[in-house]
Chain length 363, copies 2
């Protein structure tokens, strides 16, 4: 009788109800694994039972709860169920070890792309107006006035800052609507290989081979960013991770360049931010909406979150705003655990994992 390999122990720490179907599927696919679920809302996270779990945990699935370094000597993989791991990167076990940390990046493309396109269309097709007509049983007061106000997306140019999984799915829907996509990345993507999406991709979505943009642009300096913004864009989509470099990445100067380079006579540029609130200089954004330098904006994020009730952002003109909900939906958990399953299988086979957090790059 040879030695059995040490048992894998997956500890799931999530402030939600137990995900029975998903856990059953994991036990089914990985029959030798031990799986423990704890809900931090109803558990003493510094108590002896949790200490015991940390001691044997080899894989951790979590939102933000992580152990101290010395508590979890067997831990090999921390798999976040969030798209970004910025909430845990300052914790010692993330910052000061070589334990693999992976995000659920890739699962958010479809819902966030839907949120983006919904807001673009609600803005451009005057949904709020026709919804009010319906509420008032009003067939068509001012109906002909819509003819001169509504504009569709054929031929419109969208610049996508950060061509990751979310940017790619937005590109996919944009191209379907007849738009032109221009991609911006920090590192150059000059070869077909470098343009591929190597992370998790929801089946039948995204731009796996990076073939959708009409042009690729890159650079980590202001000059490169400004050159990108000077290309007569109708839409600017922000989908970069929050790092030191991307904090207030888009400020008054960038908005001014974007607006001045846009030659369209019927519309001013529209900014969409589904990344993090701090990527935009929020005061500059509000000012440019008030001055009509921008035609509109859609934000699913703010600085700070939650946004205080008396903050001027709520009332900025031509702004669509929602409280960090664009990635929500019933598919979330199933997809987040799909990423975990992919990585558990790769771990088993000794293959390179996907969605790995690069400590040096900061995302």
């Amino acid at each position: 009788m040879g030695d059995a390999p040490p048992q894998e122990h997956l500890v799931v720490v999530l402030p939600f109800r137990e995900l029975t179907d998903i856990f059953e599927d994991i036990r089914d696919k990985f029959p030798s694994i031990r799986l423990t679920f704890i809900d931090p809302r109803s558990t003493d996270m510094s108590g002896p039972e949790v200490k015991d779990l940390w001691a044997s945990a080899t894989i951790l699935s979590t939102l933000w709860d992580v152990p101290e370094i010395e508590e979890a000597p067997r831990l090999k993989l921390i798999q976040s169920i969030a798209a970004g791991v910025d909430g845990m990167i300052h914790r010692p076990i993330v910052a000061n070890t070589d334990i693999i940390v992976a995000s659920a990046s890739g699962i958010h493309g479809p819902p966030i792309a839907e949120w983006v396109v919904m807001n673009w269309l609600v803005s451009s097709r005057l949904y709020d107006t026709t919804a009010e007509w319906q509420r008032n049983h009003n067939w068509n007061e001012d109906k002909n006035s819509l003819l001169d106000k509504i504009e569709d997306n054929v031929g419109k140019r969208v610049g996508i800052l950060g061509y990751g999984s979310i940017g790619r799915q937005i590109a996919r829907v944009s191209v379907a609507m007849g738009m032109k996509v221009l991609a911006y990345t920090f590192s150059p993507r000059d070869t077909p290989e470098s343009r591929r999406d190597t992370g998790y991709i929801v089946p039948d979505t995204g731009d796996p081979d990076g073939t959708l943009p009409i042009s690729w642009h890159s650079g980590s300096d202001k000059a490169s960013l400004h050159a990108f913004l000077s290309q007569n864009l109708d839409h600017l989509l922000i989908s970069v991770p929050l790092t030191t470099q991307t904090t207030k990445f888009i400020g008054a100067e960038e908005i001014s360049i974007l607006s001045k380079s846009c030659t369209r006579t019927t519309r001013r540029p529209y900014i969409t931010n589904i990344a993090r609130g701090k990527v935009i200089d929020q005061d500059a954004l509000i000012a440019s909406l008030k001055s009509r330098e921008l035609g509109g904006a859609a934000l699913d994020v703010a600085d700070p979150e939650p946004l205080p009730k008396d903050h001027p952002l709520w009332e900025a003109p031509n702004l669509k705003f929602s409280p960090h909900v664009s990635g929500l939906g019933i598919e979330y958990m199933g997809r987040a655990f799909d990423v975990l399953k992919v990585n558990m299988r790769r771990l088993e086979r000794g293959e390179e994992l996907i969605n790995v957090y690069r400590r040096k790059k900061g995302y």
Copy 2:
């Protein structure tokens, strides 16, 4: 000196302001043509001046104004600026002559597809709720409740009744969102040739080769329609022309089949009608929304139009309704006259025209 060919005379009769840029472009591209514009709102349409115009008109661009047969002996082409020519088919010059009648079919794909996708997303992503939160400066009351209510479109199945230019552009955006498209046509489309779109196509849109559907279905009988509706559809999109055959095409029985065949536990099927109000049995639709047999509906058309203020349709649950505006937008006239220009060039060259009304088929 040989005989010059008789001069073409394009008469444009439209109840809008004069389309200066568009007319200039036509004069530029067809330098030998005579172009006359009249606005029927400010013109005596039975006066001697209009009679003179009819006498020499060879091409007519119109919304619904047409001459009597004997008034326009030189007329070769009636080019409507509407997608359907059903508003004029009972006029003698359309019904009882061989004059070519062509529609502006094809130009409506992009705006109507945007209207459709906007309404799908506004419904599924609870836009009205988050918009109300914004109005109330409310960061996230019940935010977590959205997690269980929002659902995206990946893997959803949409049946498209009438796979013309509008259905094709909706298919294009649907596929980009990760959906599966099933196409239904009256005549079988069994060959690659028969699946092509031979009408006007707005550049960079649509499904020119008919390659997007996962399956094609056809038939002009109830049994074929019912078989199509029995395929576990999440969405049914109605984009058929109104004919005797398609009047009340979708009634209580069809809705029941659609609903019963849908196995999804989180959603009931959603019906979208951008064709004509009479294609649906409106009372049956209202009943099925009330009974939750349907999960929702989006209608841009009604029976009758305008819909009376006290009609129960206005208040049907989970209904998005707008007053026949889905095709509107600033691009409308430019694209409508693009179709005319294509047909004028083809006429000049003796080629077959596009978008020709087939008197026998009725569309």
